[in-house]
Amino acid sequence: MTKEFWRWKEYNWQDENINWRDADIISAGVDVGSVSSQAVILADGELFAYASMRTGSNSPKSAENVMKWCMEDTGMTLDDLEFTVGTGYGRVNVPFADKAITEIACHARGAHKMYGKTIRTLLDMGGQDCKAISVDEKGKVINFLMNDKCAAGTGRGMEVFADLLSLPIEEIGDLSFQVEEEPEPVSSTCVIFAKSEATGLLRDGWPKNKVLAAYSSAMAHRVVALLERIDIKEDFAITGGIAKNSGVVKRIEKELGLTALTTKYDTQIAGAFGAALFGKVLCEKKRQKMAKV
């Protein structure tokens, strides 16, 4: 089995200072994406645990695995989740979810928590698609755009590249800046054709980093076009896998002349985080209903 450079690391995290058993409401969110899945558990709305794994070909299983890994060693079981919201591609096949909400709403909600209430524009660069989202002060979506029928400017595009250049996906961001001067962007952002264009450049003796820089700026340019169509506001943030790719992020910022907001949280969990936050609200509603009956 050859090394798969495009693969993101898998990880989980828990807050030792929180004893979930003391919490009144345990809500959870699980984001089953096309490439990776994340789970988030909140104790009374506070982040208690999260995990990220790659999505297998069986999404109900992937959802369960990532959630189980998230609660690993906490003594928590799926039954302890009072309200779970599923999101992402596989949102409808999350066996233990009480409701499904799109990743667009969830990312907006999650980002609103992770980056603060001032956020107005969100760029979510997922595995298969790229979404530009306008958010209001409550974290509600007021407009959104998705790239259509073309994977240029998606996380997947970058992964294909990492593989082509045999460079670990986590490193390509920084590597793309290790060039004497910024090269012209590659002309084609189509993943497949950019790939052959890149191969050509490498054959012409370009160093990997330079090719990487050329592709990163092409990708950034493409994404900026999407952002401009939704008329981007100053307080904007980037979530999803690409948010970790400084090579693209910095170039987007440069072209926009804006600096993306930062967060102490892991940018990849925004969707699951938002789902879990919705979960809390929905849980309270459920209780009110019950109370009435």
Binding site: S187, A225, E228, R229
Partner: protein, 436 residues
């Protein structure tokens, strides 16, 4: 295959053509300085009609301007992206998008701010024609726009009622012009302009017909810079005179065996607008001894043709040559409507098969060995039915190569892929790169 060698010489009238083109844009830019008017509209617009407003009224035609932008790749890209930002689709006419971009960025391709016209004067045969200026007007903050529908069917089916419909719109357009410019209309200037249009468009057809000669006195790449005058102001007297001069020179080249390219081994014809940013493909063909003698596009976009008594295809006899009277406004408008309805490039809008017939005429009478079709994503109008044209040409035994691209949006042209495809095509025609 023996490689012929011909005399070549640069075109003497070349400089004059360049000069006229520059003057045309200068006139438009400076129109206001001395109280003149400027209008914008399509290359097919009835420019002779606004000409009746006075000699100080100058046009800016959209398609040639959009193509000029395409030559300036960086500017073009900025224009296209500015338009996409406004939410307009990427697959619309690329001339139109370049043009709109120039408005949005408020930059003129030849320097300075975008020179807003006083009014739009358009005609309509393809889906985008009138909508082009409908949107332009919105982007410019309400420049008054007028358009005349000429899409009444192929010339072979022309009827009095069809002409009446067009002429009635023309009469209205004159009232409209008087209203929005506050000027009094001058029928003598109209009649003069209409006659100029007949002269220039018939003369261009005559020049194209001369290219039947072997070796071809003109290659298509050169013709692009010459036919363009007709797309700027076919009704302009100076332009009509220029075509007379050009015709004389082309005849002189034929008489002295002066060829467009040194080694004319095979003769090609193309179709639809080329990708303007990549005219080098024609130079590339020359390396193989292939010359493009023209196309229905370069011939029939402005040239007016007809079947001659001997069955061949040539310039249409003008009403003046026929001794027909053009003394009143109505006579002028009717004659102009009828004349334009016979425009070769207006026929295929109703049936690609009519276009195939004309292309086959060219292929036969201009001694064409192969055809190169540009599947032009930039122009729905002229690419219309091109697949059927291809089938018809192949059926008639002509080798056909197709390549995809875009006349005004270089992002849709794959240079290396196209070049290797042309190389394959040259190989199938039995050509090798000439060792010169």
């Amino acid at each position: 295959m023996s490689i012929p060698k011909y005399k070549t010489a640069p075109l003497k009238t070349w400089g004059k053509a360049k000069e006229l083109r520059e003057k045309y844009y200068r006139n438009y830019l400076s129109a206001h300085d001395n109280g003149g008017l400027r209008w914008a509209g399509g290359a097919w617009s009835f420019g002779a009609i606004p000409a009746g407003l006075g000699r100080d009224v100058f046009p800016l035609t959209g398609e040639p301007y959009g193509a000029s932008i395409a030559f300036k790749k960086d500017f073009s890209l900025r224009c296209l992206e500015a338009v996409e930002k406004k939410g307009y689709a990427r697959d619309l006419c690329s001339y139109m998008r370049n043009y709109w971009g120039s408005i949005i960025l408020d930059e003129f391709a030849f320097g300075g701010k975008f020179p807003k016209p006083d009014f739009h004067f358009q005609d309509h045969i393809c889906c985008s024609h009138s909508k082009w200026y409908q949107v332009a007007s919105e982007l410019e903050g309400g420049v008054p726009s007028h358009s005349i529908d000429v899409s009444v069917g192929p010339y072979k089916d022309v009827s009095k009622e069809k002409i009446d419909y067009i002429v009635a719109q023309m009469h209205d357009s004159i009232d409209w012009l008087e209203k929005i410019t506050g000027r009094e209309y001058n029928d003598d200037l109209l009649i003069e302009a209409v006659k100029n249009e007949f002269r220039s468009t018939a003369k261009w057809a005559e020049i194209c017909t001369m290219n039947k000669a072997r070796p071809a006195p003109l290659d298509e790449k050169t013709m692009y810079s010459l036919y363009v005058l007709g797309t700027l102001a076919k009704h302009d007297g100076e332009f009509a005179d220029f075509y007379d001069e050009l015709a004389d020179e082309v005849q002189w080249r034929i008489d002295n065996g002066i060829a467009a390219i040194e080694h004319e081994v095979v003769r090609l014809m193309s179709d639809t607008q080329p990708p303007w940013g990549f005219l080098k493909i024609f130079r590339y063909l020359e390396k193989f001894g292939a010359v493009s003698i023209g196309s229905l596009y370069t011939f029939g976009l402005i040239g007016i043709f007809e079947d001659k008594p001997d069955g061949s295809w040539g310039p249409r006899e003008t009403p003046m040559q026929k001794g027909e009277k053009i003394e009143t406004r109505d006579q002028a408008l009717r004659a102009m409507a009828d004349w334009n309805l016979s425009k070769p490039e207006w026929q295929h809008f109703y049936s690609p098969h009519l276009k195939s017939e004309m292309m086959l005429k060219i292929a036969k009478e201009w001694h064409v060995d192969g055809v190169m079709l540009h599947y032009n994503r930039g122009c729905e109008g002229l690419t219309l039915g091109i697949a059927e044209n291809r089938l018809a040409l192949i059926e008639a035994g002509y080798p056909v190569m197709t390549y995809e691209g875009n006349m005004g949006d270089e992002r849709e042209f794959d240079e290396s892929q196209t070049m290797s495809r042309m190389e394959s095509f040259m190989e199938t025609l039995g050509l090798k790169e000439l060792a010169v």
